[in-house]
Symmetry: C2
Subunit: 134 residues, 2 copies
């Protein structure tokens, strides 16, 4: 009996691990998609200091902790080797579960506040959203 409980407990722990991994894929609304991806790329103005860039990175990275509608978040700086990055140096991948969540995010005060930090240093921006499918 005790052994059965142990097996079940182990199974439950493993199962909850699975659920948490699947949650980050943001598939709750449509099983055919991993979520609504919001790809954001920046090129900063010449003269923007490394310190200022770091502050912008940190401000964006803080958003998932402030905005509930962000289901998943990742980012990085360009390390491509084909010279087709069109001047962009930063890419942020924000994932939403639904168009409604995106609609709540765009005018969110914390998002707007981030825009104020970013705006003065922005040379170019690209935003493309897609429903992620295989």
């Amino acid at each position: 009996m005790l052994r059965n409980v142990l097996y079940l407990a182990v199974g439950t722990i493993i199962l909850s691990g699975c659920i948490s991994v699947q949650t980050t894929e943001c598939v709750s609304e449509s099983k055919e998609s991993r979520g609504l991806r919001h790809v954001v790329m920046f090129k900063f103005k010449e003269g923007t200091s490394n310190q200022q860039i770091r502050e912008i990175e940190d401000a964006f990275r803080a958003l998932p902790g402030k905005v509930d509608e962000i289901c998943d978040f990742e980012w990085g700086t360009d390390v491509s080797v084909e010279n087709l990055q069109q001047g962009f140096t930063h890419c942020f991948l924000v994932t939403f579960r639904s168009e409604a969540d995106r609609a709540a995010y765009l005018p969110n005060p914390d998002h707007k506040e981030f825009g104020k930090i970013l705006g003065p240093h922005l040379d170019k921006v690209l935003v493309l959203d897609y429903w992620a499918t295989k």
Copy 2:
């Protein structure tokens, strides 16, 4: 005894599900990253037919089945609402485990063959790679 085997079997099935989900995050080399993302965006020439676009989409989608170095793959067409997509209509997100895997992918004959299908219809392309971190 039979019941124990059953519990173990269920646990094993659940566990293998977990492993397969984690594999798609391509974290094998560096635990701090989900993998080397290769973001590819296209804008097609005016006059490219829907049929031709479909053939290009299908040809790109076939690559993960042909190129072992592709660890994860997803794509979608632009549904953004901010009008900052800079004309790009398609986004493909290819993930590698390492720079060595990317270096093997770029000159891969199947990748080159895809380039031949794509090339005549390409107006603009953007490629930006980043090591995905939170």
